[in-house]
């Protein structure tokens, strides 16, 4: 199962993605991979993990070595790419974490990405669940680096702008040639009154909001103190609300 979180910046998709990771761990999902695919996001901080290398770093290294002819002629580049990706995965007791990091630079990435796609398509099914934090453009999905997404969760807050971004994401998904499963719009940091108004606005945009996570003083506290999301107690309001949403979507039982 691959779940991608996306949405307008600042809506709290990293928070929701991180809390989803916690829910999956608590439900004993099995092998879990977390992918930070938003250059502006900070899954490692949210989950309290230090990351040394990113996929962008190893891709650049691979590209440089390939193009300069440093690699020996009989060297199997597919196996080498697999090794580099594995070396960029940060492992913890509960989950693995891969940060996509910097975007492509100058030059041609056709061949490099071809190798990378193969590695990713072998790697992802080895996990029982994959949780991704993506920017609104879903670059890695649209480029086919990450395939087989089952759920796309578009996070909105109380702003119309965020709703419009969610609508754009829906249109983008429709245009994609690859199958990306179903789209779920989830409201974050909204009161029940705001949620009602928001749901109405959403209907005007042909969107259906599946659920909401209410404002939580616990979340404000960890934000203020710069603590990881893992510090949120399981019975906090935000985590309980999200648990309900995930159950409704069918991500957890």
């Amino acid at each position: 199962m691959i779940i991608a979180f996306t949405g307008k910046g600042g809506t709290g998709k990293t928070l929701l993605a991180s809390m989803t990771v916690l829910e999956l761990i608590d439900s004993n999902v099995g092998d879990l991979l977390v992918i930070d695919a938003d250059p502006d996001a900070n899954m490692p901080d949210a989950l309290g993990v230090d990351v040394e290398t990113t996929l962008g770093d190893v891709r650049e290294r691979f590209k440089r070595e390939v193009e300069s002819g440093e690699l020996p002629p009989g060297f199997d580049k597919q196996a080498y790419m697999e090794y580099l990706v594995a070396s960029a995965i940060e492992e913890t007791d509960d989950f693995d974490l891969l940060v996509m990091g910097r975007p492509e630079g100058r030059g041609c990435y056709c061949a490099v990405n071809q190798w990378l796609r193969k590695v990713m398509s072998d790697l992802l099914p080895a996990y029982d669940a994959v949780v991704m934090d993506c920017e609104a453009g879903l670059e890695h999905v649209s480029r086919g680096i990450i395939e087989g997404v089952d759920h796309v969760v578009a996070v909105v807050d109380h702003s119309l702008k965020a709703l419009k971004t969610a609508a754009r994401i829906r249109d983008l998904l429709d245009e994609l040639e690859v199958d990306v499963g179903s789209l779920h719009v989830v409201a974050n940091r909204v009161t029940d009154e705001e949620f009602e108004v928001l749901s109405e606005k959403a209907r005007e945009l042909d969107l259906d909001i599946v659920g909401r996570v209410r404002p939580d003083p616990e979340v404000v506290r960890i934000d203020l103190e710069g603590l990881p999301v893992t510090e949120l107690p399981p019975d906090s309001r935000a985590r309980s609300d999200l648990r309900e949403v995930l159950r409704r979507i069918g991500i957890t039982g």
Partner: protein, 470 residues
Amino acid sequence: MAGLEDLPVEVSPRYEGERIRSGDMYVELAGPKSFGAELFKVMDHDEVRDGNVEVIGPDIDDMEEGERYPFGIFVKAAGEELEEDVEGVLERRIHEFCNYVEGFMHLNQRDQIWCRVAKKAVEKGFKLEHLGIALRELFKEEFGNVIDAIEVVLMTDEDKVKEFVEYAREVYAKRDERAKELSEEDVDEFYVCLMCQSFAPTHVCVITPDRTSLCGSITWHDAKAAYKIDPEGPIFPIEKGECLDPEAGEYEGVNEAVKEHSGGAVERVFLHSCLEYPHTSCGCFQAVAFYIPEVDGIGIVDREYTGDTPLGIPFSTLAGEASGGEQQPGFVGVSYGYMESDKFLQYDGGWERIVWMPKELKERVKHAIPDELYDKIATEEDATTVDELKEFLEEVEHPVVERWEEEEEVEEEEEKVEEEAAPAEAPTLEVGELPLVPGGGLNVKIVLKNAKIYAEKVIIKRVDKEGGEK
């Protein structure tokens, strides 16, 4: 002797792709935080103790859980028909066979292997000795027709692995030397890559031992491996066919393949020429070679250089001209790897025809440029205009200068004839009609090479695709 069925863990292709996370791992062997190597070596019969499987250093039961150890995998084989040049191919199978073993993970190759043993395998009684047995049996099963004797030595002893890694590196180096010597004459198949057709629909990248893909990423060896992994993919073999012109690098099989996969847009390709029937270019090329008519030479500019070429335009503009999958005489996309080939643009004169390169590029491929020519090739420090280039080439007596002299001689002779035969103001050569060859994206194609034509008027007429005038 123990067989696969006697092992405590299963051995099957279905365990390939099994990932052992650090939490599930009993020990890690080699890898980025330790060291190790693997080697498949063809040896004489008396050097191989047939059937022997040996572990030098601690085996699993003497290892600490959660620790990391150096690791060496040494497969020795002998056989009447077993040749040294298959070592590389058979060595790649170590990766595959190791991953068949339940609870054992193997990544990468050569002196960069990274292995893990799963806790659950150790619980079942797995030892490294069993890995050795699995390797021996799988090699015999698959290559019993050529392998007469096989021995597997696994090493975890630090000093022993160090020694082995050094030895393995020497073997890899020799093997790579041999692979580098491989050329178009030595193989029957070339490869074609259509990866870039999404944006250059008529571009067919032909990959030979002498010519890597234009993007520089795919060598002939890579193409071969890629096809094996994904036979339905964008890279596949083509028959080389008869060599129609060894200098030009024109092959029957290449012409046929290019015609078929370009949808008929390109019918003929000289693999080693920029001037005639050049290979098409996608847009991904690392560098572009371009003809400079004023000096009758070829310049090369790569993506890294952002300044202007003597033509007064930078790489990006030239790249735009050359890309798109159309055959354009005078422009050809090239990779750094191709510049190192002995066949590099040999039809046009090879390095003797190269007159300009950015300084950094020149330095980068220094080892490929003949010593006597190195200082004769201008860089942006010597010339940024065609006039400066001309001056420089004359000063250093670049081989292309001889071409100019030959031309001038011909010119002088012609002038003499003209003076004798015709009155002063008559044209040297009267052209009743100038035939134009349709091609490329333009509806006209003009190649004026070494031509000295004096005419009152040159009329260029639009010609339709079928070749008839309109």
